[in-house]
Symmetry: C3
Subunit: 175 residues, 3 copies
């Protein structure tokens, strides 16, 4: 008997790598009820344009959309259920939001990681790989990069499948 932890899929990729589109195709292919959890808040016009573009790309008619910048695990628990597929896009924005709100990062990361194995929904989590450039000059950016890297290791370990996406092409790292 397969553990429920085999449900979660983690999709990691760079900026404009096609990771969101790939993750959306994974959700669509399930044939389940689709839920989209956006962690991004529309701070400024540039961000608003990106979110609008993401919505247009996705065709929002077929999705139920949730905006959840901070309480991601609670939100996933609230919408969790058999017959549902949930896309979370993206974890790095969530990390940024947690840092700005001065939340307990370690506790938040543990809660999300521990939620994954028992989830009834088919979960697909998207995140940005940000650790492959030069060390950032400011300390906040370094801390963000460290947090993101640690979260990615935790989520990858708790997921059944992990993909690295570059140039729109998925590379299976696990599963």
């Amino acid at each position: 008997m397969t553990s429920p932890s085999s449900q979660a899929v983690f999709v990691l990729g760079g900026a404009r790598s096609g990771k969101s589109r790939f993750a959306e195709s994974l959700v669509s292919d399930t044939g389940l009820d689709r839920h989209y959890v956006a962690t991004g808040q529309a701070w400024d016009d540039e961000m608003r344009n990106r979110i609008a573009q993401h919505r247009a790309d996705r065709g929002d008619i077929l999705w139920t959309t949730h905006e959840e910048p901070l309480d991601l695990t609670a939100r996933l628990a609230a919408i969790d259920g058999e017959g549902r597929a949930v896309l979370v896009d993206c974890l790095t924005l969530w990390v940024t939001n947690l840092m700005m709100a001065e939340r307990n990062i370690a506790a938040e990361f543990s809660a999300l990681t521990e939620f994954l194995p028992g989830a009834k929904s088919r979960l697909v989590l998207v995140s940005n790989e940000v650790g492959l450039g030069i060390v950032p000059e400011n300390r906040m950016a370094r801390e963000f990069r460290d947090h993101a890297g640690r979260l990615h290791q935790m989520i990858a370990a708790a997921s059944a499948e992990v993909y690295f996406v570059a140039a729109g092409l998925p590379l299976k790292m696990k599963g």
Copy 2:
């Protein structure tokens, strides 16, 4: 019968990853007449040194070299022909040049992408992956990163083979 689109090869990699050397070996291995299309202009001494180093690495006696910072698709069409192998190095510099010249980026990207399937030459296109670090602080750099990422997805989709190169080692992503 294989479509002509199976000719194009896309080589993506980081700075000093060995992507150019690998791409050059792909071209040399064809045994065809070799053409090198350089998108880089020798703006300053640092860039000039890099180009000179690239030329020395390549052994220019065996190659016909073309400098084409902007009108890449027209140039590729002009030198296109059976029995030829053409190396383009690199697409990210072309994106930078298009932005500086305020060209219509979307139109330029579409034209190049649409050229690939019908090309008679064996095309090998090289580009820098630039989307795996921290989000850049200035808007121009973010726009450049977005353009590059979108172009990479388009070129990868239109290519028969795609490689990701790190530490001189090619990883086949497609083909």
Copy 3:
């Protein structure tokens, strides 16, 4: 008969990618006497904390630790021997140290590369991939990135196995 060069393993990854942990597991799995060569100097509190965390993660009771910021090849030669496994973490910090000390980078890189094939120890070398972000604005960072990329190509060519680590997951590039 296998050449002794088949001993070296190169582990490349981003910041907080889990590369050190993976490299440490490779060393531990050998069952040999374990040596850890740290190239990092404890310049400031942030760096001190990282090193302390690395030590705690590793369980230093089972390891012999060496701090060697500059003369890495000489140190590896001094501790080289049958029945030993040596972890070097990491090469990018070594490159930074060489630049700050104005050493002859090319000579240092060649010496390390030439040492690998004849080493009696099982060597595992860790390094940061730093070339997959936007081109850094300052020249020193660009030079560092170029040096690191060149070293990675040399070490990968001289190693029997090469892994790229992301989100704690190793991807075999060679071997």
